[in-house]
Symmetry: C2
Subunit: 366 residues, 2 copies
């Protein structure tokens, strides 16, 4: 059965008040949907994407031509079965795949650049809720998100508890740790140090800060993988050579891989968006938004929660998920929690994992 | 009692054959010594420094004016007691504090830059052994090194086993892992992406690749600290402000700290040296140098070994030290090993630690 793909963009009719105090008008939200919306609108699932993700969760990426980032999970007969569910995945504001972000035109007809307001995870969710309002979807069957997507699910649960019946939060955290912030700051400094960044004003230029963005991506990419996974996949293997070159080429496979990840990323992502979205993640602290006690964030929660972590994830380790589970328990919410064993670190949520599939299916059907 | 400080540099009379096949002539080794050499030369301790360390182990740094990097450990009456021991600490070749490196003048009177040969840890030790030859020191009481310094101690033990009676290896490894290489590659790419790097030819220029070098240092610095240590020291505390700025200044203390570490580093270190030394570390695999079996590296060892690791060190975790200990055991060497508990990650070897002091004292006196 052929998969129907709908690619759309909606201009929100309502203004978007932001946490910084500014208001964004005429916000565009680019999104994709998969599967039919039931007549009673009871089968809508919102998938929230991660830092460098996008709405192309289960359709080919328009720039890279690669399959959707969760094609494995979303589709007819798959874990998130589009024969049963109507799946919505929208590009977050601040990003660069069609939703309003720093590359968008401001009122003066010029790209925002660094004039774009600093946004938060909650602001991203404001944009998503705005989209749901436009689509006339009052209550979601489930909100699902991994990594930064999980932060959005948590923020939605805390601030718009009436909008979803189930929250599935994978490999995520309710706050960014000092180490999380530190890695992001390295990436931002790499971008800002690039000769072509030019204070964020490069959209009309022939060159963009690709080198800085590639370095940022390389540093971040290491945090997505486990030490064990890197050793298993690359070890100290040399790339296309028998002996070391005694030079600065990519002698080791892991160097070659990282360079490839870095340069590939620059073809599909905007450096300023990287600055804004990492900032939003660093600012995220759901407890702080609710008087310093995470349980308060979930005081009004009637949804069912499922938290999933991976034992080799050192970016958002299991302790962060457990911290959320404790808060949900304290708030009297319905919550299940499982730590899965996987060798591939944070990226495990994007990879083949039978137990992950089983847990997700069970939760969606429950 | 005033501490006598001797600052010297020696030009090696012998050529230095390198692992890459090239030969360096007229190599300068800059070094410091502390304490008197006994008439029978039996009390000499060689301290090997880490990646960004130098010979100023217990004397003020000539550029920063800060105390020596192991001032806490080395001095009269201290753990390495300069009333009893003659301590030698030399700048490794490839570095930038007086020993021959990429900023040194080549035969044509111009700085080597990237014409400097790619060196290895064993090459660094060749330089140190050359220094010992010049100083007429046949056998060291002890070789001590933390981190890259420990790699030098291991290399010396494997290749010049007759030159030392004791080897003290702290927070180190016999090989660089894929993750270790990956982090170094990020740093190198950051330097090479800097507009002022110019293929390594910047010594006559007004500007040097400070931004790239700072990013490299920031990324590396995160790996020197533990997640727990960062959380304890900085958490999500804001820097000199009550609320978030909703901008890209260093809102968080951890950002401010990292920026300070990055920019401070550029004042005292050469970007090309950073490329060469990280490359040497990435190339390090003591087993590979000895037919693929680490125990072979220590086949001729008569020295006593002491290995120390820290439980929160994720750069060179305890497993790496244990791996060395197993090889030493297999080779029939005398070895003691202790994992110390410390919250501060890899950097623990530089910080106050009573048990570390006790283990070191015991080993030196034994």
């Amino acid at each position: 059965m052929a998969q129907e793909i709908v690619s759309k963009s909606i201009k929100l009719s309502a203004d978007l008040p932001l946490d910084c105090g500014q208001v964004l008008s005429g916000v565009e939200i680019a999104y994709e949907t998969y599967g039919e919306l039931a007549a009673d609108k009871s089968n809508a699932i919102l998938i929230c994407h991660a830092l460098t993700g996008d709405q192309y969760v289960a359709s080919d990426h328009p720039i890279t031509g690669k399959p959707g980032w969760w094609q494995r999970i979303v589709g007819p007969g798959k874990v998130i079965d589009t024969d049963r569910y109507h799946v919505i995945c929208a590009n977050v504001i601040g990003s660069c795949m069609g939703s309003t972000g720093p590359a968008s035109l401001a009122a003066d007809g010029q790209p925002y650049g660094m004039r774009f307001p600093v946004i938060t995870i909650r602001d991203m969710v404001r944009g998503l809720v705005g989209l749901l309002d436009e689509l006339g979807i009052e209550k979601l069957h489930t909100v699902i998100g991994g990594s930064m997507g999980g932060m959005q699910a948590l923020s939605l649960a805390a601030n718009w508890p009436e909008r979803a019946e189930r929250m599935l939060v994978i490999a995520s955290s309710a706050r960014h740790s000092a180490q999380n912030i530190a890695f992001h700051e390295v990436g931002r400094q790499a971008i800002m140090a690039d000769r072509y960044w030019n204070g964020g004003d490069y959209y009309a230029s022939d060159a963009s800060p690709d080198n800085g963005l590639a370095v940022a991506r390389m540093a971040a990419h290491i945090t997505y993988l486990s030490e064990e996974g890197l050793t298993e996949k690359f070890g100290r293997n040399l790339q296309d050579r028998e002996t070391k070159s005694f030079g600065f080429d990519a002698d080791f496979q892991v160097e070659s891989y990282l360079r490839y990840q870095g340069s590939g990323f620059t073809q599909r992502f905007d450096a300023n968006s990287y600055l804004y979205i990492t900032r939003a993640m660093d600012y995220f602290d759901l407890a702080e938004e609710h008087g310093g006690t995470l349980a308060n964030a979930f005081a009004g929660a009637s949804a069912r929660f499922c938290l999933i972590s991976f034992d080799s994830d050192w970016l958002y380790p299991t302790a962060e998920s457990r911290h959320i589970v404790h808060a949900l328990n304290a708030a009297g919410a319905k919550v299940s929690f499982v730590e899965l064993s996987a060798p591939h670190g944070h990226d495990s949520f994007l990879l083949e994992h039978e137990q992950l599939d089983r847990v997700m299916r069970g939760f969606l059907d429950g």
